[in-house]
């Protein structure tokens, strides 16, 4: 990915990635996690992503960080998908936001980097009661991404 992005730390033992968003709201720790949710007939990992809260020791994906770096953050998350799928050949990644707005954010991320994502991955979305190939401009309920 050519876009400006943050560098991340990979915790390979459990497929977690950490990076820090930096902007007017300060330095905010972001976590991306991939968890195996279906093993057969195909391995499907669930993508989780949000701000780490040291006080609650939990992730929050319902707040807007407002660090004026949305594209950079999305590019970094996309970069973790590239890294993860490179290390997990044959695996698919399922992505669904905790809220419709969050799912829409994922959709914006896919659309923004479609030129590169579309050439490397098969992306399908759940829309109108069925899974179908990703198209820009549709509001999907969930996504599944797999390397070609």
């Amino acid at each position: 990915m050519k876009e400006v992005k943050y560098s991340f730390t990979r915790l390979p033992e459990a497929y977690y990635y950490e990076f820090f968003s930096e902007g007017p709201r300060g330095r905010v720790k972001k976590i991306v996690g991939y968890k195996l949710i279906e093993e057969r007939p195909n391995r499907i990992y669930n993508l989780g992503f949000g701000d780490w809260d040291d006080q609650t020791e939990d992730l929050n994906d319902t707040i807007a960080t407002n660090n004026h770096d949305r594209q950079k953050v999305l590019a970094t998350v996309a970069d973790t998908v590239l890294d993860f799928t490179k290390n997990q050949p044959g695996a698919s990644v399922f992505a669904q936001g905790s809220t419709l707005a969050r799912t829409r954010l994922y959709q914006m991320g896919i659309a923004a980097f479609w030129e590169e994502i579309g050439s490397l991955f098969v992306v399908v979305g759940y829309y109108d009661g069925k899974w179908q190939p990703f198209e820009k401009g549709k509001n999907y309920e969930a996504f599944l991404i797999k390397r070609k």
């Binding site: 033992e13 007939p41 195909n42 939990d58 992730l59 399922f94 669904q96 969930a142 797999k146």
Partner: protein
């Protein structure tokens, strides 16, 4: 004395990573989200043609 933990973290990056993994794995966010995702896929399975 409460320095032991921090000292060992600084001198042992593997232990620090393991601690982080344990912390993130405990996060209820992932547990809830993974359960919701598994339920969604059970209800709306992805056609095999997209998973080949």
């Amino acid at each position: 004395m409460n320095n032991g933990k921090n000292t060992s973290k600084l001198s042992n990056p593997i232990a620090e990573r393991e601690e982080k993994v344990a912390l993130y794995t405990k996060a209820s966010y992932f547990q809830k989200k993974d359960k919701k995702a598994a339920e969604f896929l059970k209800k709306h399975p992805v056609p095999a043609e997209f998973l080949k």
